[in-house]
């Protein structure tokens, strides 16, 4: 049985179709990367799998159950691209990660010892246990991203879904991230992630799926990057990437300019 099964999926926003006839399965224990340029539809694909975007045509099954009837959300851990801004009310790292226990516990039961232990275990897995009582706003972007993966891991899911988890994340956080995902996979977890570039995650990937213009253009081993990214020693230093990714990138070409 597949963990994720997408068949003949089409998704549109306001009449414009973003995904056309996409078919994909992810098997237990597999690590699948969805690659593609910005605007290719790769994020829409996983957001539809998570039920955040309505299905146009086609079917999605999670753990063998149709998405509309799927209820076992504790088996799914979602890591969004970035921490929501919130309205300025402080929240500690521990409080954010504790949200990851709700799917398992339900809304009526107060948190217990098992929940607190799971939060601590997830935080030590991403190397942030010493920051448990710090406000998340004092963390770096990479540490915030690690907080989000800890939140997903705290629920002890069987499937992790990550949306561009390493975009704009510093090198040490990327490695901590890759190590945590590696341990999750070794324990039998299944991973579906969207990425623009894989970086230190590359060795984990069993299969790459390239989405281009709303269709699956390639499926197989991780393809060689094109253009200057293939050059030896290219370490992806994009000093202005933070400002670019704010929104313009959604429509920017894949390879805007040569490095340097």
């Amino acid at each position: 049985m597949s963990v994720v099964n997408v068949s003949h999926l089409a998704v549109g926003y306001e009449g414009r179709e973003v995904l056309h006839d996409v078919t994909l399965s992810v098997h237990p224990g597999e690590v699948v990367a969805i690659l593609g340029a910005n605007g290719s539809g790769k994020s829409t694909l996983i957001r539809t799998v998570l039920g955040l975007v309505p299905i146009g045509r086609g079917e999605i099954e999670l753990f063998g159950t149709g998405l509309r009837r799927f209820k076992q959300w504790a088996r799914v851990g979602y890591v969004p691209q970035r921490l929501g801004a919130g309205g300025g009310v402080p929240a500690t790292v521990g409080e954010v990660v504790a949200s990851g226990r709700l799917a398992r516990r339900g809304i009526f039961r107060p948190p217990g010892a098992a929940d607190r232990a799971a939060v601590r275990a997830a935080l030590s897995d991403v190397g942030l246990l010493d920051r448990i009582n710090d406000p998340v706003s004092t963390l770096s972007g990479g540490q915030q991203q690690r907080t989000l993966i800890a939140r997903a891991l705290a629920g002890k899911p069987d499937l992790l879904v990550l949306d561009e988890p390493t975009a704009g994340v510093d090198a040490s956080s990327q490695e901590a991230f890759a190590a945590a995902l590696g341990r999750f996979e070794t324990d039998g977890g299944t991973i579906l992630l969207v990425a623009h570039e894989l970086g230190p995650l590359q060795p984990l990937i069993d299969r790459a799926v390239v989405v281009h213009d709303g269709r699956i253009a390639y499926e197989g081993p991780v393809p060689e990057p094109a253009g200057h990214h293939a050059a030896p020693g290219h370490d992806h230093v994009h000093p202005h990437a933070d400002t670019v990714k704010a929104g313009i990138c959604e429509w920017a070409p894949t390879d805007p300019m040569p490095a340097g």
Binding site: N38, L50, G51, L52, K71, Q72, W73, A74, V76, Y78, P80, L83, G84, G86, G87, G88, V89, P90, A91, T92, G94, E95, V96, A98, S99, G100, R101, L102, A103, I107, F108, P110, N133, D134, P135, R151, G155, E164, T166, A167, G168, V169, D170, A171, S172, Q174, H196, E197, G199, H229, D235, H236, V237, H238, P239, A241, D242, V244, K245, C249
Partner: protein
């Protein structure tokens, strides 16, 4: 102090303390969602409810609860649709609410200005024993719901999409929050009045979050500040003969200012005390986005 030999003063104090505790416990979620002014809007709609109650010779408080709950659910449905016109739709609802209220109160037999003022700015000392029972029951319900569902409500306010993927009943909890906001506004109407309702939900939170590090500690501190300013507001207003609602809000704002000044002074002192802090190297090896 012999002020509290009078039953009406004791009732006033009890009502104020309940609101002072309950309003910030809800307000913290509104502030976190950047909906700080929503309580104000629901207050405008509640005035229409007061008008309906007076016109039909029914309890204005009950009518206000019902009408403002309908208004709050309407606001929530507009918000869920997430259109940019939501802001404008809210404005229409708010002005419709206050205009409708003024017209309906005018049409009722009970159409004195004093009556309108009583709802707009509060009239704590005319609170009847029945009012206190209603305020007490509803206040405890609001407080209980906000504390019991704190983890889920925090998750929704912090990251609504994540909460949906966690399988939480996001829509139901959002509606619960909307109805709770309407109930809080209506019971606080007697204390601070509809025009100042939002202040008791928001100002204690704004004051507390300057010095707290977590959500739970912010909530606790905001409730303490709300409780303290409501209680002292009633006492001070009786001593110097001012409106209790406005006095309470001024005191809460004074706490906000005091904490702001205090934290700035503390930071300046600390900066002077420690040597120049080391700045981390900008070792950002960024992934291409």
């Amino acid at each position: 102090m012999d002020l509290f030999e009078y039953d009406f003063m004791l009732r006033a104090l009890a009502g104020a303390l309940i609101i002072g505790l309950a309003a910030p416990s809800l307000g913290i979620y509104l502030v976190q969602r950047r909906l700080s002014l929503i309580g104000d809007g629901i207050g405008h709609v509640a005035l229409t409810g007061v008008g309906v109650g007076l016109l039909l010779h029914r309890s204005p408080v009950i009518a206000a609860v019902i009408v403002s709950a309908i208004g709050a659910v309407g606001v929530e449905l507009i918000r869920q649709r997430g259109r940019t016109s939501g802001d404008l739709a809210l404005a229409l609802l708010f002005y419709g609410g206050i205009a409708g209220g003024v017209v309906l109160v005018g049409l009722s037999n009970d159409s004195s200005n004093a009556n309108l003022i009583q709802y707009l700015f509060g009239s704590l000392v005319t609170t009847s024993p029945q009012d206190i029972v209603v305020i007490g029951i509803l206040g405890v319900l609001v407080l209980g719901a906000m504390l019991a569902f704190r983890p889920a409500l925090f998750a929704i306010c912090n990251d609504e999409e994540y909460a949906r993927v966690s399988g939480l009943p996001v829509r139901t909890l959002n509606l619960l929050m909307a109805v709770t906001a309407a109930v809080t506004v209506t019971i606080a109407m007697r204390t601070v009045g509809l025009l100042l309702v939002s202040a008791l939900m928001v100002v204690p939170v704004a004051a507390a979050q300057q010095v707290t590090r977590g959500f739970r500690s912010t909530m606790a501190a905001a409730m303490v500040i709300g409780f303290g300013s409501a209680g002292s507001g009633v006492v001070v207003s009786a001593e110097i003969d001012t409106a209790p609602g406005a006095t309470t809000v001024i005191l809460a704002l004074a706490v906000f200012v005091a904490i702001s000044v205090g934290t700035v002074a503390w930071r300046l002192l600390r900066r002077r005390g420690t040597a120049a802090r080391e700045v981390e190297p900008p070792d950002v090896v960024l992934q291409k986005v």
